[in-house]
Amino acid sequence: MKMKAFSFSASLKEPRPRQVAVETVVYAVSEGGLRRLEYRERDFSLELDALDFDAEFGYALQLTVADVIRGMAGGSFECRVAECDAEGSLLKVYNAVLDGRSYKLLAAYKLAGQELSKVYVDIVTNAVPWGERIKTVSALLGLLPHALEDI
């Protein structure tokens, strides 16, 4: 099963200025630990990736394709799409810098039948303490204590 991960930087002008940089790292859950997945990278395509981009960042970062398009006049957007094969539970870590502030956001996926289902995602506007978040994610993904310490 294919999983996309977006890493990008955007300088958006409209309707309000925003500076966004995100590096996404994807981990497979393996025996209670995390293993970084290998990627195949390609360029971002609006036709192919718009909906996935919204699904990824519309909630977590409050940033949508519509925002990117809107802000492009006089701004910039550079995005790489990494595709990897997923066979089980996954953890995505978004290392984001929004208008000069750094955030580490998590999204957890689990297999539900033949589909990977998002079971948890942080939202940048709700600053739950890091300790609480990793506790929740660890429980959802069956991670051993300390597995999330080094991400």
Partner: protein
């Protein structure tokens, strides 16, 4: 309107009446199952053409790109916003239906001034649907929506006793009766109260004509029981004019304000309720139930009366709390030439208001809706939890507060309050608290500085005590006291503009920030400008799904839909004292011949008792 293979939805429930009287939780459990059936379908209801946005032409300057929709087939397309000759336009090309160009904002300078106030919300932490489609075909609210519900609309009927020529929404034309049961309404209201980070607290009960429901008072009571602080009833005012008791009952049940259609001060510009409005105002006055006048503003129709509408509101300021003008949304397939005759945008209305009030209310006196976000952010920083925020798109609405002196001089709040200064002060203070500075010290600092931004000598006489004005601000900011806001409102007239979108000027960037939403019968919550701009995909589809067949409804209620037609007795209305007094000093309506009154009413579609 041409549709691309619109899906025909069969009625899935044996009868709406089988659902209507179940408990609210049971109704919710059943209706939510139909959400996937009711959602718009890619390739069936709409297509996606995310190509390059249209190029600029000579004399045009790029403002922004955006996503929009084809007015004919609803395809999602890229669009270009550009400035030309001081105005902002939108251009888009549908591969199937060609190019569309529309006025987006009538003044570029105002666009830029407003844009600086854009603030975004915290999103919706409890989305009602999964994200399966591009915006605006995934409502809602979906995980990417940026604003919580500031005003929830709940349509409680599609019946109406008026037969306005342009309306295709009411039950007789639609061919079904949409009238959710009290338990169904309670379920919808509860869904919006579950929203995080901020639940819906304000609701507008709308229709059709909601006052046609015999249980309208129960609906208001239910809204109050479900925790809504602010309840407004949207009406054309006919029943209010003839039934003094209904205004009293509405107020006693918990209605805060009536939103009443009011398109002008003459029979020609307001054939909907020109004759009844004075009587409705009198009955509201007796009931002590305040009203906001809601004109739909159309170029070449009533744009020349926006100043008179404000003067009318000031004349009745004991009962009129505000005027909320709505520049026209053009629905249906309308050729460009015809649209240009109707189209008016927020800056165009502001300019007309400035002209028609002899410069007493200038364009600069207006601010876009998100201007007030720093107040919410400051209170949030103080209280440590999310607050009610008006984070709609800057191009969606504008407002100011108007005061007046005994001599009739109109004084916008900006003449004696430095709005920019106050908001910047609060913004900085919120930032300081969030960065760890002691909130009590910051608050004291804010309070000590606030006086610098108020010039009481320029305020209306009754406001010349700076302390009195600052007390309002203190109560709102520090005590976050809703009654303080109410008290402030009673001293002023709220002037607002809300430009709802239409298929020609559609902008996805705006709808993602929308904070005026509709409760759907299947439990979804949908932005105003998807609910009404794509009725076949949202409003009509869902309402038809949970409706009564006309025959069944008539059998259940013993009423005849076709007989619910208002017939106007013009002669009686124009001879009454309330009518004679209401427009005095605003418009000379008494010199209009009776025949012209009758003609105006009939032309609009409202029959007259001769």
């Amino acid at each position: 309107m041409e549709r691309i293979g619109t899906e025909v939805l069969e009625h899935p429930l044996p009868k709406y009446s089988d659902l209507a009287n179940l408990p609210p939780e049971e109704i919710g459990r059943i209706v939510k199952k139909y959400v996937p059936v009711l959602m718009p379908k890619a390739g069936v209801d709409y297509k996606v053409y995310l190509g390059k946005p249209p190029e600029l032409r000579d004399g045009e300057r790029l403002v922004a790109y955006t996503l929009s929709t084809c007015p004919h087939c609803y395809a999602l397309v890229a669009a270009t916003l550009y400035e030309k000759e001081g105005k902002v336009y939108e251009r888009k090309v549908c591969p199937e239906h060609g190019e569309f160009e529309e006025l987006y904002f009538g003044d570029y300078a105002t666009y830029e001034r407003f844009r600086k106030w854009q603030r975004d919300g915290k999103g919706v932490w409890t989305p009602n649907v999964h994200l399966n489609a591009l915006c605006p075909f995934n409502c809602g609210l979906c995980p990417r929506h940026k604003s919580h519900t500031a005003l929830l609309n709940i349509a409680v009927t599609n019946r109406c006793e008026l037969r306005c020529w342009y309306c295709f929404f009411y039950a007789v034309k639609a061919g079904y009766v949409y009238e959710p049961s009290l338990n169904h309404i309670r379920f919808m209201l509860r869904e919006a109260r579950k929203m995080m980070p901020y639940p819906a607290i304000a609701v507008q009960i709308t229709g059709g004509e909601p006052l046609l429901r015999d249980d309208i008072v129960d609906i208001v009571r239910i809204a109050r029981e479900e925790g809504y602080h602010h309840i407004q009833v949207n009406t054309e005012g006919i029943r209010l004019a003839f039934d003094p008791d209904i205004a009293i009952k509405l107020r006693e049940a918990g209605t805060n304000v009536v939103y009443m259609s009011f398109d002008g001060v003459t029979p020609y510009t307001n054939p909907k309720n020109h004759w009844e409005a004075p009587y409705a105002l009198d009955n509201l006055r007796r009931a002590k139930l305040v009203v906001v006048l809601v004109p739909t503003v159309i170029k070449g129709y009533n744009l020349h009366e926006v100043g008179a509408i404000i003067r009318f509101a000031v004349k009745h300021a004991d009962i009129v709390r505000g005027v909320n003008m709505q520049p026209v949304s053009i629905v249906g397939r309308v050729p460009k030439k015809e649209r240009d005759k109707l189209r008016v945008t927020i800056p165009d209305v502001l300019l007309e208001i400035e002209k028609q009030t002899d410069g007493q209310i200038k364009r600069e006196d207006w601010y876009p809706v998100p201007t007030v976000v720093p107040i919410s952010r400051f209170v949030e920083a103080l209280r440590g939890k999310p607050q009610f925020e008006l984070t709609t798109h800057f191009a969606c609405g504008a407002a100011t507060y108007l005061f007046w002196d005994d001599g009739g001089e109109l004084i916008p709040i900006t003449r004696f309050v430095d709005v920019d200064g106050v908001m910047q002060l609060l913004d900085r203070a919120a930032e300081e608290i969030m960065n760890g500075r002691n909130k009590y010290i910051v608050t004291l600092s804010v309070l000590s500085k606030l006086g610098r931004y108020v010039d009481a000598s320029k305020a209306p006489k009754r406001f010349r005590s700076k302390r009195r004005f600052l007390r309002y601000i203190f109560n709102i900011l520090v005590r976050h006291d809703y009654s303080s806001l109410g008290e402030f409102h009673y001293q002023a007239l709220f002037l607002g503009l809300m430009h709802f979108q239409d298929p020609y000027n559609y902008d996805v960037s705006r709808v993602q920030r929308c904070d005026v939403h509709y409760a759907m019968p299947d439990g979804r919550i949908v932005p105003f400008c998807t609910f009404n701009v794509f009725p076949e995909l949202y409003r009509d589809r869902a309402q038809k799904f949970f409706s009564y067949e006309i025959e069944e409804w008539e059998k259940l209620t013993g009423k005849k839909l076709a007989e619910e037609v208002y017939v106007r007795n013009v002669r009686k209305l124009i001879e009454g004292e309330p009518y004679k007094k209401a427009y005095e000093g605003v418009a000379d309506v008494l010199s209009i011949p009776y025949e012209e009154h009758v003609l105006a009413s009939k032309k609009f579609g409202i029959p007259v008792a001769e």
